[in-house]
């Protein structure tokens, strides 16, 4: 039927298309799910914003496509003491207004984002830095103690020009940002698009496109249609159904990459039924993780048995996958019928994929549990999962990303008793997490995380589910390598005709 209709309209398409607009070869049009909230890299951060502004600004460090931390504005670095890191600043870098990027701009950027009054939502990632100073072309960062994740955080610290921000103020800087990146800000048509132009005097790899247009297209079906119609070259946030629809086309392709987001089911260890290790084991046995990743999600997700992924430092490759054995789960719940029948709620929010949440509920109930879903808006959900264990729901679904690719950013908040996200209170686990957080020796840290992941796996303190993946739709001739940190650097792409 679809093909019949399609051939009819294709015949009609012989009429000259009057209005079709198509992107010029040297330009790229990217459809995002929304408008960037801000262009100031020290303000709001979400993928929609940083897809755009990370092309305008250089960061202290960056990750290459393989995920290795490499220099960007800092050419080399040296941990001189437990709490001081010396960065050698690249020379010859200029901002888009022609002024040179000085070490003092790096110091200014660090102080701006760590200034409490500035109110950056990213403060929590940088607040271990207590001081920054410059001498010659060396910038020294002082932390309030050993901070092994500092390098991973500096990958996200963008350098803003002190002379511009101080002259125009935060609002105007947000409206017309000036950075030193491979692309310069050109125009922001509010609600519609942001246009960037190539920085021809960029110190590093120059971008292949003269102009890049990032458009806000909230409806996923419309983004896919734009790609098929040729009005977009790259679209983000599509689901596996849309990917299947694109797979048959020769003009477009689907790109996917595992991200550093780990989906997990949080358990309340203070309340029945999951205060009992046997019941936690039964719940884990009841969950068919492969069924979720390969049957439901189909975007390249990978089942996980730890609160980390191969994209994180601190991943333990030796932790065995969780087994799926419904009969074994039923045997446990059958032996403890009262405990299994204890009503338990699974907290979730609309932002999560409800197919997964419903599948989890179904799998647990099939095994003899009595689970109901409690869906609330995001702030309420966040309130529930961060509340005291006594007020907390028995179960919660969540996806965790620290945007730092270090196990510290994911295992610590979810598992350490100090964190308001954690419902785990195991002194031995706390000690291991603290060791890993305080040591600058990678081997010591890895060893501690190996133990953390094994303990969580053995005791089912929380139930990791899978490493989430991200799907993009792209023109077939666009070369773009999606990465775990969901970056979208224009100067790493190419689009030969």
């Amino acid at each position: 039927m679809k093909h019949c209709l399609q051939s009819m309209v294709t015949a009609a398409a012989l009429a000259v298309p009057l209005f079709t607009t198509s992107a010029m070869a040297q330009d790229i049009t990217i459809d995002l799910a929304g408008e960037p909230a801000t262009m100031d890299p020290h303000k709001q951060w979400n993928p929609t914003s940083y897809y755009v502004y990370r092309n305008i600004f250089d960061n202290v460090l960056t990750r290459d496509n393989d995920g290795t931390i490499v220099g960007q504005i800092a050419t080399s670095w040296n941990q001189t003491t437990n709490n001081t890191l010396e960065l050698t600043i690249r020379e010859g870098v200029t901002f888009h207004d022609g002024e040179a990027l000085e070490p003092s701009d790096v110091v200014y950027s660090v102080k701006r984002i760590t200034n409490k009054d500035f109110g950056s939502p990213q403060l929590g990632q940088f607040n271990k830095i207590v001081d920054a100073s410059a001498a010659g072309n060396v910038v020294t960062l002082t932390t309030d103690g050993p901070y092994p994740a500092l390098m991973a955080q500096l990958v996200k610290l963008s350098i803003v020009p002190e002379h511009v921000v101080e002259a125009v103020g935060d609002d105007e800087f947000n409206a017309a940002p000036i950075g030193s990146g491979a692309y310069a800000f050109s125009d922001w048509d509010r609600g519609v698009s942001v246009t960037l132009t190539r920085n021809d005097s960029y110190w590093g790899d120059k971008g292949p496109f003269e102009t890049a247009i990032f458009r806000a297209v909230p409806d996923a079906a419309t983004r896919v249609a734009d790609l098929q119609a040729g009005t977009a070259d790259l679209v983000v946030s599509i689901d596996s159904d849309a990917a299947a629809q694109l797979a048959s086309s020769t003009e477009v392709k689907v790109l996917s990459a595992p991200t550093e987001r780990v989906a997990y089911m949080g358990l309340n260890l203070d309340k029945p039924p999951f205060n009992d290790p046997k019941m936690r084991r039964a719940a884990s046995l009841a969950i068919d993780r492969l069924g979720i990743t390969e049957g439901l999600l189909q975007a390249g997700e990978i089942p996980m048995a730890q609160m980390a992924s191969p994209a994180h430092f601190g991943y333990n490759p030796d932790v065995a996958a969780f087994e799926y054995d419904l009969d074994a789960a039923k045997a446990i719940t059958g032996a403890n019928p009262d405990l299994a029948a204890t009503p338990a709620t699974l907290a979730t929010a609309p932002v999560f994929d409800q197919r997964i949440v419903q599948a989890l509920q179904q799998m647990l109930n099939d095994a003899g549990f009595n689970i109901s879903i409690s869906m609330s808006d995001m702030p309420t959900y966040l309130g529930i999962v961060r509340s005291d264990p006594s007020e907390n729901s028995e179960l919660s679904f969540g996806r965790w990303s620290c945007a730092c690719q270090d196990a510290d950013g994911i295992a610590y908040p979810v598992l350490h008793s100090d964190s308001n996200w954690s419902r785990v209170n195991v002194p031995e686990l706390d000690a291991l997490l603290e060791t890993a957080r305080a040591s600058l020796d990678a081997a010591v840290r890895q060893e501690a995380y190996n133990n953390v992941h094994q303990m969580v796996r053995d005791n089912y303190y929380t139930l990791p589910l899978y490493q989430a993946a991200v799907l993009y739709g792209a023109k077939s001739n666009l070369n773009f390598v999606p990465t775990a940190n969901e970056s979208m650097f224009l100067n790493r792409m190419s689009m030969p005709n």
């Binding site: 209005f19 607009t21 801000t38 109110g119 609600g191 519609v192 079906a221 419309t222 249609a225």
Partner: protein, 307 residues
């Protein structure tokens, strides 16, 4: 007339005050936006600090009184998320929504009214039944579906029209049709029944007896007398169009107030949602006020009965 105006104006003001109050409290009942503004790793102290920065840590009544004062001074505040004045944000979106609403209203009126007249004049004939079927189809298709279908056919397969976005006249065509379809059906049905009513009246028979032709009869006599229900429908349709714009603008990535509403709700940008809802309420209330006044001009009996 003055008394009538004062009475209707007073009612409108009370309605506005009610909406202002409802919007303020309902939004605050649904959750705290700070949780969404901060990364997942934020501590309780970070959250408290952000609440203080945004003034959300003050008692609800104090926030409400400030809010009323701001509204009275036409100060809509600043967006938490976009770090910009709400007036600026809204002002940049209004022209887009007006364009879309005008396009949709034009399609609805220019196609809906003649269809209605056609159905009335051809009542009992197959052509009327066919047209009615078409009108019902327009009314039954959900906008998100008809929008996506149009994008698929005219944007992807035929490539006649841009699949989404804004900028040229061509961009306006599909969203206007998608938004106008429902109103078109309403106009066609209302016009049909109004004209059918009029057709049975004495003056029509007399006019026909005097040899007045169909075209002249429709334009000069029937339409004028069928105007009252059409005016009241237009007042209602304007609010309908604003509501429909939320879906149409999302589907077509049309950067108007509807899309702004969806984005602001998702980001829990209270201040912007508040302002958009207020604006929508103002428009609806004043469209109805304008319709009341128009009735009284078209038909003075309405004014007298208002006393």
């Amino acid at each position: 007339m003055l008394r009538f105006l004062l009475q209707r104006g007073g009612q409108a003001l009370i309605a506005v005050f009610g909406v202002v109050t409802l919007v303020f409290f309902i939004q605050r009942l649904t959750g705290d936006p700070t949780a969404l503004l901060l990364p997942e790793t934020a501590t309780q102290a970070d959250i408290e600090a952000m609440r203080a920065t945004l003034g959300l840590d003050r008692p609800m009544w104090a926030q409400y009184i400030d809010f009323l004062g701001d509204i009275a001074r036409f100060d809509l505040g600043r967006s938490f998320v976009q770090n910009a004045s709400v007036w600026e944000i809204i002002a940049s979106r209004i022209p887009e929504t007006l364009q879309l609403a005008a396009g949709a209203l034009a399609i609805a009126l220019l196609i809906g009214l003649p269809l209605g007249v056609l159905m009335a004049l051809t009542a009992q004939k197959p052509v009327s039944r066919w047209t009615m079927g078409l009108v019902l189809a327009c009314q039954s298709m959900p906008t998100f579906w008809s929008g996506i279908m149009m994008i698929l056919v005219f944007g992807v397969w035929l490539r006649w029209l841009p699949s989404s976005g804004t900028g040229t006249f061509a961009h306006l065509i599909m969203p206007s049709i998608a938004l106008g379809l429902l109103s078109l059906a309403t106009y066609a049905r209302i016009t049909r029944s109004a004209v059918v009513d009029e057709l049975g009246k004495d003056y029509v028979r007399s006019a026909r007896a005097r040899g007045v032709g169909t075209g002249r009869m429709v334009c000069k006599h029937l339409m004028r007398n069928s105007l009252i229900p059409i005016i009241s429908i237009t007042a209602l349709e304007i609010s309908q169009l604003l509501a429909g714009a939320v879906i149409v603008e999302t589907v077509f990535a049309w950067p108007g107030l509807g899309l702004l509403t969806v984005q602001s709700i998702a980001a829990r940008d209270f201040v912007v949602v508040q302002a958009v809802v207020l604006l929508g309420a103002f428009v609806t209330i004043f469209a109805n006020l304008a319709a009341d006044i128009l009735y009284s001009i078209v038909d003075p009996r309405v004014r007298l009965s208002g006393r």
